[in-house]
């Protein structure tokens, strides 16, 4: 187990290093942050001064080496735009993303798992058809469109919930629903198909032949095995709620989280901020994957051995 853990940890470090490298170089291909910062009336001399101030006048390889050294020391640089430490801004915005993400996860699991299991157990029923239809549309419809629909219906027409911004619990509902929309559809669909496969297996038939109640067969015997692929997918989807989902929801609902910070950083070519935000979210992704791998070991003894 220790070897397993160490090996996963080493993989995680390599993964993060690759992410840092790719983002570092890709970001610099997108344009000049100094031009955006200096404005259209700036002189060429002023831009030279700004470049020197932000270390952008050095050769690219040198900037990269300096940056790696800083990251190794826990220094993620200073935002070109705000002048604040880049990681501090990410941590300042993280609670907002966490709010939406956690509520999104809860909504996802509360809706997707029971509906997926029920649809499989009652195959061919009206609810099964409804669930399958939702699964298709849910994965096809873009999140930002869903978010705008929610705003129109719940905020503009019904005036039940706020259209955006961060505040009390009522501000979290629509962004969380928007974030979880895609995940609900995907997890429900996978749960259903996984359950159908397991429900058709011999040991489940035996359990039913023994006269066990249906809910015991489904939840105690079938679901645990069906949950393994669902777990993998759910873990990735859950993290995606924090990554892509948060970007969309935070932009549409003006929620000041890491996602909107990332979008701003891309627009303004704020390289340190962009790198810090991506590294943070990537570390989160790697961590969740690691957790899933460990959970796998618990659920499936074959993995442990």
């Amino acid at each position: 187990m220790v070897r397993f853990l160490l090996s996963r940890l080493a993989q995680a470090i390599v993964t993060l290093w690759m992410v840092v490298t790719v983002v570092f170089f890709l970001a610099r291909l997108t344009g000049d942050p100094v031009a955006l910062l200096a404005g259209e009336h700036a002189t060429a001399e002023y831009e030279v001064e700004l470049r020197a101030r932000f270390g952008l006048d050095k050769p690219l390889w040198q900037q990269y080496v300096i940056y790696l050294g800083q990251v190794a020391r826990g220094d993620f640089g200073t935002s070109i735009v705000s002048g604040e430490p880049a990681l501090a801004q990410v941590m300042e915005r993280w609670p907002a993303t966490l709010e939406i993400g956690l509520v999104g996860i809860i909504i996802t699991l509360v809706l997707a798992l029971p509906i997926g299991v029920y649809a499989a157990a009652h195959r061919g029923s009206p609810l099964d058809y409804l669930a399958r239809g939702f699964a298709v549309f849910g994965q096809a419809i873009p999140g930002f469109w869903v978010g705008l629909i929610f705003i129109l219906v719940f905020a503009v027409d019904l005036r039940l919930l706020p259209a955006g911004g961060r505040g009390g619990p009522q501000h979290i509902i629509l962004p969380a629903l928007t974030t979880g929309w895609f995940a609900v559809a995907g997890i429900m669909r996978l749960t259903r198909s996984s359950m159908l496969e397991v429900l058709g297996s011999e040991y489940v038939k035996l359990a039913r032949a023994k006269g066990l109640p249906m809910h015991v067969v489904v939840w105690k015997h079938a679901f645990r095995n069906a949950a393994i692929p669902v777990l993998t997918f759910s873990a990735l989807v859950v993290v995606s709620l924090f990554l892509t989902g948060s970007i969309v929801a935070e932009t549409v609902f003006s929620y000041p989280g890491v996602g909107s910070l990332l979008i701003d950083a891309v627009r303004k070519r704020d390289f340190p901020q962009l790198q810090a935000a991506v590294l943070f979210l990537s570390a989160l992704y790697v961590l969740v994957n690691l957790g899933v791998d460990l959970l796998y070991g618990y659920l499936d003894p074959r993995v442990r051995s």
Binding site: P33, A42, V81, A163
Partner: protein
């Protein structure tokens, strides 16, 4: 059904992301002239008209750093938040755009044009009892603007123009310029220069002062939620103009469609809307404020550079060989053809929802006093365009492809649509081959020489004029061979006129020079002027009764002038 249609409109708009009262100059710009003033700060409104209520404004941004000292904000958007807090030495009149005193009661400029003397009003208080405005505060503010810490867009200009700021007495300051420049006055206006309390900033430090700013403006910042909102309270009474609305909230909502939804839901009271959302807003019962002349669009024809540049290419059809009259005549016919082939009104109707008027010359507001009278937009005449092109030797169009760079600047997303539309007209009416190249500003700027290097490059430009009495302030970035991004044509004549305007203190003569410049650009068809369009703000009539906005200013401001619907 209506909701569904509206939703699809909003989806389409999401895919697209990112008239005029001329500015007039006060006579004070003349040598030894003085602007009359009371000498003392006005009393502002009486206690009987105390501010009440709340106004919430939806903005796409609260600036870059969200650090509320004028020199720490890099872009113009930061001034949306700085504007209520700070004031400037001079400011444009809200109706005419003419520069008039604000913190200064009057000013003088000597006959050399290099020494500008400002006489400050007495008794102007900083907020929260932080003393009275003096010349030391103005000097300190200037020094901070040009300091190493400064990222203000005005920094480079002030460094280039100003030799020294000299405090003569507590209420008198002289700026000594390196060379005569009439545009200097416009550098001390809101959006370009804000005056802070030297005593306050030095006592609490820059960091503290940036989070708890103190100015002389009509509003005081009381709460700031980073990347969310800034809340202000009216200063009552204010020495200049006491606001009518007590609480001002500037709320950051980056998405255009979301801002409109919030306006419809009553969560904000006013916001700028893009043209494509105008119908949706109208259908919702919202009303509009229009600021005419807020943006002027034209298409640049690349390659019109000085022949001395090593990338000059005389083979570009609209450029011609220097010194060859026949070649120049052919090039002029080609430029005329490129203009006559474009239906400006159709572009206004489709891209700008019918808002705006056809452009006449780049950087000039149609009808402006700086334009010669009688200049009309080039007509739409595709037949004549085709004939001219054939006469110039291109009956089947050009052998090479023109590249149209589609570049959306922040706040001017329509530049892409304008470029696309013009390219379409050239293809349809002239049979030209036009390649569209999407590119954004940050990618384009490092290659700022590309339009100069690649002669076959064109791009649409959406110029935002500044509400100052000197058009050259905005033009200088785009007009001459010394400009960073020339989008007209590099000619010794344009350079000479621009230099003449800059140094001439006689306003009447400058107006004539501006007209001559406009005539020159117009008669030579150097560019393809498209439209002068307004900025549109949608507002809730139950919240706002009136709000005089600055002509030619594309950013909302002057919050103290907003009149609530119920007083």
């Amino acid at each position: 059904m209506r909701r569904v249609v509206g939703v699809f409109v909003m989806v389409g708009l999401l895919a697209v992301q990112g008239a005029c009262a001329p500015a007039r100059e006060t006579p004070s710009g003349e040598p030894r002239a003085a602007q009359a003033g009371s000498g003392q700060a006005p009393a502002g409104q009486t206690a009987a008209s105390q501010p009440t209520g709340k106004l919430t404004v939806g903005l796409s941004s609260l600036g870059t750093a969200e650090a509320w000292l004028p020199w720490l904000e890099a872009g113009r958007e930061g001034w949306l938040v700085l504007d209520p807090i700070y004031e400037s030495v001079v400011a444009p009149n809200v109706q005419t755009g003419e520069i008039e005193p604000q913190l200064a009661e009057r000013w003088e400029v000597d006959e050399t044009g290099k020494h500008w003397r400002f006489f400050l009003r007495r008794g102007i208080p900083f907020q929260d009892g932080h003393g009275e405005l003096t010349a030391e505060d103005v000097k300190y503010s200037y020094e901070m603007y040009i300091s190493d810490r400064s990222v203000a867009s005005n920094k480079a200009t002030l460094q280039t123009l100003v030799e020294q700021a000299e405090v003569v007495s507590p209420y008198e300051i002289v700026f000594h310029l390196k060379h005569p420049d009439v545009t200097f006055l416009g550098r001390l206006t809101p959006g370009n220069f804000g005056v802070v309390s030297k005593q306050y900033v030095e006592s609490v430090g820059e960091r503290e002062a940036a989070t708890k700013p103190i100015g002389t403006g009509p509003y005081k910042l009381i709460e700031h939620k980073r990347q969310q909102s800034a809340t202000f309270e009216a200063v009552a009474p204010h020495w200049r103009e006491t606001p009518r609305i007590k609480t001002l909230v500037l709320r950051r909502v980056p998405d255009q469609a979301a801002r409109l939804a919030m306006l419809r839901a009553g969560e904000i009271d006013i916001t700028e809307i893009p043209f494509k959302l105008k119908r949706e807003a109208e259908a919702s019962g919202l009303q509009f404020l229009r600021v005419e002349g807020a943006a002027i669009y034209h298409v640049q024809l690349g390659g019109q550079i000085l022949p001395t540049r090593d990338t000059f290419d005389a083979n570009v059809p609209w450029v011609g060989t220097p010194g060859d009259a026949a070649s120049q005549e052919r090039a002029l016919k080609v430029r005329r053809a490129l203009n006559l082939a474009v239906d400006k009104q159709a572009i206004i109707n489709s891209v700008f929802e019918g808002e705006g008027v056809p452009g006449v010359a780049p950087y000039y507001l149609p009808g402006s006093e700086f334009m010669p009278s009688g200049l009309q937009p080039y007509p739409y005449d595709p037949q004549e365009a085709k004939r001219l092109l054939a006469e110039a030797g291109y009956p089947q169009g050009f052998s090479r492809e023109i590249e149209m760079q589609l570049m959306p600047w922040p706040g001017r997303a329509e530049m892409v649509d304008v470029g696309e539309a013009v390219a379409g007209f050239w293809e349809r009416n002239l049979g030209l081959k036009v390649k569209r190249t999407p590119i954004d500003f940050a990618t384009w700027v490092p290659n700022v020489g590309v339009p100069r290097k690649n002669a076959w490059v064109t791009w649409a430009h959406g110029y935002i004029p500044r509400p100052v009495s000197e058009p050259l302030i905005g033009m200088e970035t785009w007009l001459t061979s010394q400009s960073r991004y020339n989008t007209v044509a590099e000619t010794p004549e344009i350079d000479a006129l621009a230099m003449k305007i800059r140094a001439d203190l006689d306003r009447a003569k400058r107006v004539q020079d501006y007209r001559e410049l406009a005539q020159m650009i117009y008669s030579q068809y150097y560019t393809v002027p498209v439209a002068a369009v307004p900025t549109i703000y949608a507002y809730n009539p139950k919240a706002i009764a009136a709000w005089p906005l600055q002509p030619g200013e594309s950013y909302i401001g002057g919050y103290e002038r907003a009149v609530p619907a119920r007083q």
